[in-house]
Point group: D2
Chain length 316, copies 4
Amino acid sequence: MRYAYLGPAGTFTEEALRQVAAPDEAVYLPQTDVGSAIAAVRSGDADRAVVAIESTAEGGVTATLDSLAAGSPLVIVREVLVPVQFTLVAPAGVRLADVRRIAAHPHAWVQCRRWLAAHLPHAVHVPATSNTAPAALLAQAAGDPAAVRALAFDAALVPPAAVGTYGLAPVAEHVADNPSALTRFVVVGPPGPVPAPTGADKTTLVVHLPDNEAGALLAMLEQFAVRGVNLSRIESRPIGDALGRYSFSIDAEGHVTDERMGEVLMGLHRRCPYVRFLGSYPRADAVAPLVHVGTSDADFVEARAWLDRLRGGDPA
Amino acid sequence: MRYAYLGPAGTFTEEALRQVAAPDEAVYLPQTDVGSAIAAVRSGDADRAVVAIESTAEGGVTATLDSLAAGSPLVIVREVLVPVQFTLVAPAGVRLADVRRIAAHPHAWVQCRRWLAAHLPHAVHVPATSNTAPAALLAQAAGDPAAVRALAFDAALVPPAAVGTYGLAPVAEHVADNPSALTRFVVVGPPGPVPAPTGADKTTLVVHLPDNEAGALLAMLEQFAVRGVNLSRIESRPIGDALGRYSFSIDAEGHVTDERMGEVLMGLHRRCPYVRFLGSYPRADAVAPLVHVGTSDADFVEARAWLDRLRGGDPA
Amino acid sequence: MRYAYLGPAGTFTEEALRQVAAPDEAVYLPQTDVGSAIAAVRSGDADRAVVAIESTAEGGVTATLDSLAAGSPLVIVREVLVPVQFTLVAPAGVRLADVRRIAAHPHAWVQCRRWLAAHLPHAVHVPATSNTAPAALLAQAAGDPAAVRALAFDAALVPPAAVGTYGLAPVAEHVADNPSALTRFVVVGPPGPVPAPTGADKTTLVVHLPDNEAGALLAMLEQFAVRGVNLSRIESRPIGDALGRYSFSIDAEGHVTDERMGEVLMGLHRRCPYVRFLGSYPRADAVAPLVHVGTSDADFVEARAWLDRLRGGDPA
Amino acid sequence: MRYAYLGPAGTFTEEALRQVAAPDEAVYLPQTDVGSAIAAVRSGDADRAVVAIESTAEGGVTATLDSLAAGSPLVIVREVLVPVQFTLVAPAGVRLADVRRIAAHPHAWVQCRRWLAAHLPHAVHVPATSNTAPAALLAQAAGDPAAVRALAFDAALVPPAAVGTYGLAPVAEHVADNPSALTRFVVVGPPGPVPAPTGADKTTLVVHLPDNEAGALLAMLEQFAVRGVNLSRIESRPIGDALGRYSFSIDAEGHVTDERMGEVLMGLHRRCPYVRFLGSYPRADAVAPLVHVGTSDADFVEARAWLDRLRGGDPA
């Protein structure tokens, strides 16, 4: 299997990819951006793309949502959660108390600010262009005291995956302000057999609303509510042709083969001008949804049998 | 065909029955009350019952609704509308201006009060025990001046159907305060093949709501709304076991074989503790329902094909 | 206080009235029917009417609902619950095992059928014209063996209130199939100060829906749901001018002075063609409603203060 | 008045600002980013900020939405629409047919791709770091043929506002693929008197939903629907503490002083954990909202008077 992902080695995305396939079992194809990773699947240059789709701090990843919402069909076949925690790394011999200048991507710095204020209140920020760039510089300078002294920083905040990749020395681990901060990645592939339902699945959709219809969003949500299907994420994205025209990116709890989800999907397909199915796949947290009274598959099957009897003239 | 109905000859119910089957093509089995007419079908003594189910002035006919809601299954196969208009009849030679005492069932009197105030302001009401009772008395007295003089009334308000039956002389026709007042009758039979859909049909249901569930009525109505099925009648009837426990008697626009109605019925069956199907049958007024966008049979069939493709791994 | 009620002495209605005012503290004005009792308040011949409004077995009492829904304004000031249980009474010396013929109003017979089948399987029904009529006959015959022998029955099912009134001898008490069967009575008076809220109140309304508006019932119910007000009863009654035109008689949980109820009432008044307020009064069962998050009076007052700040230019 | 905005001179934001206040009537304070412009108002360094909030192609402007949603209160007092159209400028004497290399910000290039394909199919893209950067370079080189020849491009796509600012020569105007593409800007200031209602206003809000409440989004939307208030924009933004926790940024049709909007706001305030009011201001397009039956201010006032009568004991 060839996996396209946001590289280079050592990124959070690579950490997600490692959860999916070990490096010796798959071909890792690092890309420079999310769009390229997804395009590699469309072109056939990769079998799968691993891309961030949502993060605690930033919400939906626009580039991923928009790349999946348009173009030739792709589907999500798996999701992976990666904690947003950093490792503070430094040249050999540097102790935490010595650190004054810290290289970090601005996003990383923002997400560790309170930790840094508590542990290194006098440290200053040396902006890096990516999460892994300072790791590479540290690795290059390693073992050459002059090179180390020439670095513009004493330590760097890098993804845990970069530590081993670049042979770095951790000074502090689990550096993060919000210990429950997560990034959610998805594994995207070409259309094909849907992953089997596990009982704890998600289904991802893109839905456009009818124009000029007051209450269209409400009506769309009722398609889910009336069949007892909950949403775990709903986000709007502009359709792009006029102000105020939005499409909705939705994660719904359940699998396309669930009867209740099937009826929701058909309802959306009938009432909305556009519905794109982006896959059903196991939830990373394996939490099964609450199944409301009368919405299990067995309830649907039984109701269908009853309706068939009614139509056949047997209302008993 | 043997038809049980609320007799005797000349009632509004007989007028409804005549719309269904002429006297020379069917056996008319007059009954003393609605419950007996319906029981005659259950016992096999009649093939069909013709019973009033709703009237402009009184709303749902409790005896009919309750008889159909419980007991062995029966279904409505047809509906018939009869105008609530009376004919003022009198012995031969009596002119409108002569009328002073009018025999009428109290319900008839109430529904003609304004007409009477305008045309016969000095007339007094002689209560009758049924709509046809004074017709029978007039018929008996006919041709015998002493008997006519012995009558307690000069004229009577009777159903138009009674005029011919009893050989009476009309003094005034179309007597009614509300010219659009109607009674709706239904033809009830044992379970069997459902009448073919005509495009302008009704489906009658009895539905119980889940206990102790705030918003249960709202949730039940949303089962209809989300599939674009309108209701033409909804009435509550007590379930009988505790105060505040009601079942709902519903007429919905459409036929059990309509895809949207099928999905509504299955939804009710899944979510409500009890649903009884009381038949799908042509509307007497032949008014086709408004079909909302995305709710035609073709829309359902197309959506099912799309879902089947999704489930088969083809999201295109 | 003069109370009009459905008489004569000994009825269930009198039992309800006794809960309201003892005979020595009020003037009891028995009437022949519910409409007359209500009319006596409108005419000023009585200060209050006590009338049945709902029963476990029959649901809403049509005569009461219709009399209150039209005509000059009246309001409900109190409700009273009376168990639907009968006392089997008989001439002195008659034992339960001797009873063969039982006088009972047909409604009473129906509600005791299972009890009778268990305890007096060979007894036959002697129909009575009212619940109290056989009590009066027994009282007249009392002490005169010939008169007792001349009665068409051995025993009678009468309301408990009739036992003392007519000086009768109970053979069996608490005779009923459904031990939780109740009739709900209301005390009706002319408009005036609304009974103070108790925290466990009901508000009774009559609401007409906009014509030709699909989903009008759903929209009306949402006026309640969105403010967290539950309904304890909803019944349809025909408006009377055309088939399918219904008004709704509603009991809502709460008091007109509750903020949430006030907003519901204003919402109904704004959106519905007709709303009649029939009073706020304490619940007989004193069960306080569940108050949903954000719907207490304090929540409304705080929200109003916040809005006033916003409008005044202070969004803090 | 001092206006902070995204500079330098010649940007689309400056074009928006010119609609608000001419340069000789106000102090223009160009800033390097949206966050700085908004911060300048919070710090008192500017009286107003003019910032993009939504565009046809990109949807909500994240930086603006997030800056307004948190921090000390600010309010929107006006909105301005600016067409997304570019002017192709070039050194004096260059004709359209001569153009081979076009400097353009990547976003600008994307939005003009079809126009360029039609008119300049052989032109190549020279990426610029901002919309105005190539305008400045052209202005510097103007009149110096050597400097002009040294430019890396023959022409540039710049905002129309930059043409006059930099004294440039237009080669083609109204360059855009989507002629109805717009960017919506808002004028933001400190809290203070709310702009008077015009009958065609918008109200902008940030709303958080209750946690773990299935249907919370549906319930929030019903607060609007039941009072007849439509939404013109709804977008989700992550709250930032956990995956799947979103706040909603909303534009609703109407003014905070409208009775129906006031009731919506109070309803949201009561039911949702957090509501931030971001201002009521005239719509740039001056389109008045459809006012549904029973939702005008007069309807609310009349309903309040009716409720007051009910509470005072007068239900007539």
